[in-house]
């Protein structure tokens, strides 16, 4: 089945990657500086924010899907944009799911690194922006692991994309939604084939993350 990779299947896998990579990219742009900021800045309610962020790592995708659905539905506040049942809607939903994961993990990474670097950075008179840039750069390999964790979550997630995407053929059908559909149709061969592919992808991504961070640790300490 996998060997005779036809055009339809290729389309599905490609869209899966596009949606999840897009979501991870958008989430990272917000989550990395956010994580660093929370790690570095002292402000009232900081502990509560950290707890909330950690708790949000386990956001149920179905609930996120539902919230985005309400926002984007015709009667919703953003309904006029006509985004419901498009890949864009799926990217939005997955970004929301992934953002707390990347932010919480990067906050931990940056906080650990900051404990070690803070005296140097203060002695040098770094501005907050300079400190954040230094910490993000020096933590880049560990942050990559955080981003990979986010990607793993996004690519495997089905609840949100099926609600806001609708699993429309040639439009919003991704690997997970196809597996759900084909299983319910009794087409187990196709579902299993896609499942194997999804597993391979997730495994490959995680292996890559591990190799990268291990190599980096050996090279830069």
């Amino acid at each position: 089945m996998i060997a005779t990779l036809d055009a339809d299947l290729f389309e599905i896998v490609l869209l899966s990657l596009q949606v999840s990579l897009g979501a991870v990219a958008i989430a990272s742009i917000i989550a990395l500086p956010l994580g660093a900021l929370i790690a570095l800045q002292r402000f009232p309610g900081r502990r509560a924010v950290v707890i909330l962020l950690n708790a949000m790592m386990g956001l149920p995708p179905v609930v996120v899907g539902l919230m985005v659905y309400v926002l984007l539905s015709r009667a919703g506040p953003l309904g006029s944009m006509g985004l419901l049942f498009t890949p864009t809607a799926m990217v939005i939903a997955q970004s929301i799911i992934v953002l707390p994961i990347i932010a919480a993990l990067s906050r931990q990474t940056i906080a650990d690194l900051h404990e070690e670097y803070s005296e140097y950075l203060r002695s040098l008179g770094c501005t907050p922006m300079q400190s954040i840039a230094t910490l993000l750069w020096d933590g880049r390999f560990r942050l990559l692991t955080a981003i990979m964790a986010g990607f793993g979550r996004a690519i495997a997630e089905v609840g949100a994309v099926i609600i806001v995407g609708g699993n429309i053929q040639h439009s919003t059908r991704v690997m997970t939604t196809t597996i759900a559909l084909e299983t319910s149709k009794g087409n187990l061969a196709l579902a299993l084939g896609l499942g194997v592919m999804l597993l391979t992808l997730a495994l490959g991504v995680n292996a890559a993350a591990l190799v990268i961070s291990d190599t980096a640790r050996r090279r830069y300490g």
Partner: protein, 258 residues
């Protein structure tokens, strides 16, 4: 004394004229207290340092030496008392100072990139950076190791890199916290030579050590700290030949602190 400090032991060392040349001297501390969680770490310390020579804060482990250094650098705020560098506040003076820690804080980058980081943060123009990096590498004896990961260096090399990095922009004052703790004798020699060269170039050095022999080799004047109290502050020759404080005498004789 002009500043009216209560300490009568203070001396204006031989190099009174060097003060005029040094914008951050004299370093004056008055009635410093520092405590955490009700525990007093620095206890009513006052001193006056006018000389541009190397000042060594000597004392056993746990005497409060590192805290003293951080108070002078402004990384910690005294619970009570005041520090002035020349006519500058500690915060203003810090811009013209650099400090290294007992365990060097090296970035997870190459040796060269560690040096470049300081230059970039301090806003050195792009065109001038390479020459400064090369000079710092040469001074630290690390010219061939510029491309190595900084944290892969040996302990002595790491400390030399940290000191050269601190000195890369020629600060007026260099504060060194136990620069040779946990180093073998050969590495100690390398670090001390570097400190000597920097001191000779006119930078005021304020350093801590628990190593009596090292203090003898490096100090122009010695501040003896024990249990958070400054028990004696004297020119090195005087301190080592005839310490006035009984605790200091016991420490120099190699006895364990009471």
């Amino acid at each position: 004394m002009a500043d009216g400090a209560p300490h009568t032991e203070e001396r204006e060392y031989e190099q009174r004229d060097s003060i005029a040349k040094h914008p951050l001297l004299p370093l004056v501390a008055r009635g410093l207290d520092f405590g955490i969680n009700g525990q007093r770490i620095i206890d009513d310390v006052s001193f006056w340092i006018g000389s541009n020579g190397r000042t060594v804060i000597l004392g056993p482990n746990g005497a409060g030496k590192s805290v003293m250094l951080r108070l002078c650098h402004g990384l910690l705020k005294p619970t009570r008392g005041e520090i002035r560098w020349g006519d500058m506040s500690v915060a203003d003076a810090r811009e013209q100072q650099a400090m290294t820690s007992q365990k060097p804080v090296l970035l997870r980058r190459t040796v060269k990139d560690n040096l470049l980081h300081v230059l970039r943060v301090k806003g050195v123009p792009l065109g001038e950076r390479q020459a400064l990096v090369d000079a710092a590498l040469e001074q630290a004896g690390l010219t061939d190791l510029g491309g190595r990961a900084a944290r892969d260096l040996s302990g002595g090399q790491q400390q030399r890199l940290a000191i050269a990095r601190a000195f890369a922009l020629k600060p007026k004052v260099l504060l060194l916290d136990e620069p040779t703790a946990n180093l073998d004798p050969a590495a100690v020699r390398g670090v001390e030579e570097l400190i000597g060269a920097i001191g000779a170039a006119g930078t005021k050095i304020l350093m801590t050590t628990h190593d009596i022999a090292q203090a003898k080799r490096l100090a122009a004047d010695v501040m003896f700290l024990n249990q958070g109290r400054l028990l004696e502050h004297a020119p090195a020759m005087e301190f080592f030949s005839s310490p006035k404080d009984p605790e200091a005498a016991r420490f120099l004789a190699g006895e364990l602190p009471a």
